[in-house]
């Protein structure tokens, strides 16, 4: 802790904390603990209960009942919590919603009619929506490529260097920070912009130092999207670096040595030996970050709310659904997000099948 008494305010006021505050939060914490205990008790009772009950049955039945208890909860939760809702979203995306007052009560009633591809056509023809889709494609391309390139370069540069572990921690650290936090770190510390006066953001201070005019990083279309992407790159590079570093250490030393004897320099060895050997890991890192990028709405939500042409499908979907109450369009945007990852799903399933066959 900081032991500088003069820095601590003379009296720490606690205007927001009253008896109510403590009662509510105490109750909530207790509730969470009870929920965990109850959950564990139910699971244990289910498993041991069927264990005891199933002794009445034949061995085969007994196995089947226990299997159902083990695998059933996950299957049921995924079926009713993920798969069925996904099907409903797909249906909703093909509808059109209007509110018509009920003749008897006068209350607005929602009516859905089948609309075919109307929402999709809108998403790809309306200039604002189309820009959102294009931005998302740019995010999905640049984030994995930049994160992987920087992560790989860093992993190679510090490989077997002195203090490698500490150097790794430095770049890995942002992985632990929330995207909201990362957005604030960059929005307030790096990209801060003052029209006049001294620049309080690092980037603008550097620009001022070099004699340039300050830049409002989050409003200059189309570069603002790139500046937002860099925030996500900053959080994903650590992941790429750690995974790739482990893969690099798995490259057989003999291969490198043989190649060195043949007169290959470090750069050639990197491309001829290291990259081909870690290709599988590179693909995993790239696809993982691509998928993660697609789902990211936090950066846009925190810093621009889609202003100045910075919107992405993930935020637009949230915005259309929960803010603008345009649910069918929100649903169509969610389906478009899914369509973006279908190739990755197919590819992943194929490679999983291959791995399982060889086992």
């Amino acid at each position: 802790m900081m032991s500088m008494p003069e820095l601590v305010p003379k009296s720490v006021r606690m205007s927001g904390l009253n008896a109510d505050f403590w009662a509510t939060n105490g109750e909530n914490l207790l509730f969470a603990l009870i929920a965990i205990a109850a959950f564990l008790a139910v699971i244990a009772a289910l498993l041991w209960g069927t264990e005891i009950l199933s002794r009445l049955f034949s061995d085969r039945r007994r196995g089947a009942i226990q299997l159902a208890m083990l695998v059933g909860p996950v299957l049921i939760l995924l079926a009713i919590g993920l798969i069925w809702p996904a099907a409903q979203t797909v249906y909703l995306s093909f509808t059109h919603m209007v509110r018509i007052p009920d003749p008897a009560t006068g209350i607005n009633m929602e009516q859905t009619t089948f609309a075919g591809l109307e929402n999709y056509a809108f998403a790809f023809s309306d200039p604002t929506e189309l820009r959102t889709v294009i931005n998302t494609v740019v995010w999905m391309f640049l984030t994995p490529v930049l994160s992987t390139l920087i992560g790989l370069a860093y992993a190679v540069f510090i490989d077997r260097a002195k203090g490698e572990r500490t150097l790794k921690s430095l770049v890995f650290l942002p992985v632990a920070v929330s995207l909201v936090g990362a957005s604030i770190v960059w929005g307030f510390i790096m990209y801060d912009f003052n029209q006049t006066g001294s620049q309080t953001g690092i980037m603008n201070a550097l620009i001022a130092l070099l004699g340039g005019n300050p830049v409002s990083f989050l409003t200059v279309d189309p570069w603002n999207t790139l500046f937002l992407i860099l925030i996500l790159v900053w959080t994903q590079t650590g992941f790429a670096m750690v995974v790739l570093s482990a893969a690099i250490k798995g490259v057989p030393v003999e291969l490198n040595e043989a190649s060195a004897l043949d007169g290959a320099n470090a750069w050639q060895r990197f491309w001829q030996i290291t990259v081909p050997t870690i290709r599988g890991t590179l693909v995993v890192v790239l696809t993982t970050i691509t998928i993660a990028t697609l789902k990211v709405f936090d950066v846009v939500r925190t810093l621009t709310q889609g202003r100045n042409n910075t919107n992405v499908v993930a935020y637009d979907m949230y915005d259309q659904f929960f803010v603008r109450d345009n649910r069918p369009l929100g649903a169509a945007l969610a389906v478009i997000m899914f369509l973006f990852v279908v190739p990755i799903v197919v590819y992943n399933v194929q490679s999983l099948r291959k791995v399982r066959e060889t086992h």
Partner: protein, 307 residues
Amino acid sequence: MTSTDHKTRSLKAAKITRAAQAKARLTSPGATAAAMVIALVWTIPIFGLFMTSLRPGALYRTTPWWDVFSDGQLTLSNYSTVLFESFGDSANSAPLLGNLFNSLVITVPAVVFPLVLALMAAYAFAWIPFRGSEFLFVTIFALQVVPLQLSLIPLLKALGPDGLGVAGEFPGIWIAHTIFGLPLAVFLLYNFISQIPREVMEAARVDGASHTQIFFRIVIPLSLPAVASLSIFQFLWVWNDLLIASVFGAIKTYPLTYPLANLAGGYGQTEYLVPAAAFVSMIVPLIVFFSLQRYFVRGLLAGANKG
């Protein structure tokens, strides 16, 4: 080539390359400089945020944080304001200490629930042959990639007033996090549990142990390292989540990320408090990260070695 030939050759090669590598490292200032730039860009922003969070509010707009090295102006009052006082100019202006508690109340059960359920299913997929096992497992694996946005809306409806009636309450958020966390948890735990030596499982079966007995006596104790890695994963993911918290939560359940995202967009009188508020939200993940980094990395690698 005989094996001794090979050995001497590779020994010689080892000497040459090690010398060459050492030389390459020393003689490539470019690589060292690039690594230094990366390390700086990855750490200075966080350091800058921390310093800004300690600057008096009056200086926030007028002087940059690095002026601290010349003027020495530091204060903890921003922290006491955001943690203990009503601040901000929106409806969500309760002290952040309440949101900190909410983050805890959301996160702990949302880590335990999916892990326990996934452990059970992963064991079944790895060691109990049954019809449809392959198809179901591949489906769960594929679900990892499906954006959760696709299921968000109908799930909210199912948990809302027309369904279970838990939307806007903690149980609703727990259920959502549990469902969305399951595919990855099942897959990672499956990878680990299927590595348990066959002899161990066979021996237990020969002794007449049932599936349930094997699960409690062998699978749970042996998979604790994987569970530890995965808990850190899930902990950070839930603690840092904004989407599920916004969609399934309400004012009384919002975790730290929610008021933070609102504050950052506000640009009001209280803008100078945002860095301190952001740091409050980062403290717990950073502690978890620094104390358990090794397990976290292990979990990451287990997840990435699927290809």
